[in-house]
């Protein structure tokens, strides 16, 4: 599909700030209903959903040591240099970079993948974002819309 864009809000809304990705997907769905914006709980689910996208924006919570609510952007391009977590694979978790590696091996990777991260503070059981992360959702959402605007 020419010009296809996918926004994937990655995370689990029942694990506190891990719900940042889904929250941004909801923000996009409200403000730009024509954009294909989805909540994805397992990165492996991206296979089959992003295959023909020219641009896939993956929004996820991060734990990088920055201040909670900090919005960061990582442009993985076509995934040629995406570093992967080097631990064992299990059905309970395949990280985004490894899924991108698999997608590339299968010829099913998007042309470009951009990760928008929101630094989380709490990842324990529970519904709802901490205040700093909640406040960062519009900033991250607007950044996603800007990326889409620049693409099209």
């Amino acid at each position: 599909m020419t010009g296809r864009v996918l926004v994937a809000g990655l995370g689990n809304e029942y694990r506190s700030d891990d719900g940042a990705g889904p929250a941004v997907a909801g923000y996009i769905a409200q403000r730009a209903p024509s954009v294909d914006s989805r909540v994805i709980s397992d990165p492996l689910e991206l296979l089959g959903k992003w295959d023909e996208a020219e641009l896939a924006v993956v929004v996820d919570a991060t734990r990088s040591g920055e201040e909670p609510g900090t919005v960061q952007i990582v442009d993985l391009g076509g995934g040629e240099h995406a570093d992967s977590y080097d631990g064992p694979t299990s059905t309970h978790g395949m990280d985004l970079a490894r899924v991108l590696r698999l997608a590339r091996a299968l010829g099913r990777a998007p042309d470009r993948v951009v990760v928008v991260g929101i630094e989380g503070e709490a990842f324990g059981d529970g519904h709802g974002l901490t205040p700093a992360v909640n406040d960062a959702v519009p900033e991250a959402g607007d950044l996603v819309l800007q990326l889409i605007g620049e693409h099209t």
Binding site: G87, P88, T89, H92, A105
Partner: protein, 435 residues
């Protein structure tokens, strides 16, 4: 992994066994060239599902127990439904039973496609995982994904979603899919069946360690068809039991190294459930397309080589696709989609075949249908002693291997069982030590 020599005494320890469901570790000690201690340690915290069920309504059992596992929720739902319906002395209609069998086929397709192509095949080909495999040979991985997607479609259509279906209830379903919705599954399942046949041929070409194990096989058996969601429990030594009978005969014990209970049949005997057992006791019931694929892959009526379980699993994948197609062709929506099941005092049992083996439930209900007691015996609990016994035999036969290869072989041995440690309690650590 740690590796120590000299050669006659070794300890194999794997502290992070990958490509299994859940978390655990493995330790094998070799003394004077003889395998001594073999321990499969399961250290995930216990999950207390049986206690959580106490005081809940009889109608809640399928949805609560489905949460035990994201790979085989339908197995939990079906065993729970059968047990509750048994306690309340209700039988469902044939159409409901057929729809249950269809959704269960979807789960077998999902689970077997995942295990064969993503978790187990890399062992035989020397890759760390399916990503490495796909970078060298993408076709089988692509095929596995497509087969799995067909299973997802069945689950979504019948169950409402691909994981933890929401349409299953005690007595049947909340809503019956329309004939058009069911008919739309035929084309992807036809493709999946063709792909599954290709996967049987693919795995049959792997190299297998030459090991035969004298298993005591236990599985459901049904006079008309290959067992999934119904039948009596049979064994290779002549047992013929209903679900209440197996529940009485299986004794579970707690061992210090594991948060999963160890099950013994008759209090003392190791036994095996899962694809090898189902196949050994029911291969004659497979449809011609699956029987022919098995024969072409070199399988006889019984397979005692645990490493060749990947072939049996692939044959079952062909069967599950074919069976789903048969059920789709004969589909008539159950109307009503469920029968009423009033909660009444009683004790009920239910046993079905999860993708990785026999799963049975027992519930005791009070006058109001509240659950007084629950017992859930998953396949991996039943297979734990067989896993340790296989490891002992495999290590003893493989002592000439260098440490790294021996540890690899140990992990592969565990994965022969497609263990779901999460169900049994939850990952795996392997240690080979030689002294």
């Amino acid at each position: 992994m740690t590796h120590q020599r000299p050669a006659s005494d070794r300890t194999v320890q794997v502290e992070g066994l990958a490509r299994v469901e859940g978390e655990g570790s493995l330790r094998v000690e070799v003394r004077d060239g003889t395998v001594g201690m073999v321990e499969l340690e399961i250290f995930e915290p216990p999950r207390y599902f049986e206690a959580l069920l106490r005081g809940r309504r009889h109608s809640e059992a399928p949805d609560i127990t489905a949460r035990i596992c994201g790979i085989c929720p339908v197995a939990y739902q079906m065993s729970a439904c059968l047990a509750i319906e048994d306690a309340c002395k209700v039988a469902v209609t044939e159409r409901i039973a057929a729809l249950r069998r269809l959704i269960y086929c979807g789960e077998w397709i999902q689970s077997h496609a995942l295990h064969i192509h993503f978790l187990h095949a890399p062992d035989f080909l020397g890759y760390q995982d399916a990503v490495e495999l796909a970078e060298v040979d993408p076709l089988p991985v692509q095929r596995g994904l497509e087969i799995k997607r067909a299973g997802n479609l069945v689950m979504e259509t019948v169950g409402g979603r691909a994981i933890h279906p929401v349409n299953v209830r005690v007595g049947g379903f909340y809503k019956a899919p329309s004939p058009e919705e069911i008919a739309a599954l035929a084309e992807p399942l036809l493709r999946a069946r063709e792909s599954a046949l290709a996967s049987v041929e693919w795995v049959a070409g792997f190299e297998f360690p030459d090991i035969e194990v004298d298993y005591r096989f236990v599985s459901l058996r049904h006079p008309q068809h290959y067992p999934i969601e119904s039948g009596r429990i049979a064994s290779s030594d002549g047992l013929d039991l209903d679900a209440a009978g197996i529940s009485e005969l299986v004794v579970e014990e707690h061992v210090k190294r594991s948060t999963a209970l160890h099950a013994r049949l008759g209090g003392k005997d190791t036994y095996l459930t899962g694809p090898l057992a189902r196949y050994a006791l029911n291969s004659a019931q497979l449809p011609p397309i699956a029987r022919e694929a098995a024969a072409a892959a070199g399988l006889g009526a019984v397979c005692n080589n645990p490493f060749r379980s990947i072939i049996v699993r692939a044959v079952e994948l062909v069967f599950a696709c074919d069976e789903a197609l048969r059920l789709i062709a004969a589909y008539e929506p159950p109307d009503p989609p469920s029968v009423t099941v009033e909660g009444t005092a009683g004790v009920g049992h239910g046993a079905t075949e999860a993708p990785r083996g026999l799963l049975f439930h027992r519930y005791e209900l009070d006058d109001n249908g509240l659950i007084l007691a629950a017992r859930i015996v998953p396949p991996t609990s039943q297979n734990q002693l067989s896993i340790e016994a296989d490891l002992r035999q495999v290590v003893q036969a493989s002592l000439s291997l260098p440490d790294e290869e021996l540890a690899w072989r140990c992990e592969q041995t565990v994965r022969n069982f497609d263990p779901c440690i999460s169900c049994a309690a939850h990952f795996l650590d392997v240690t080979v030590e030689r002294r």
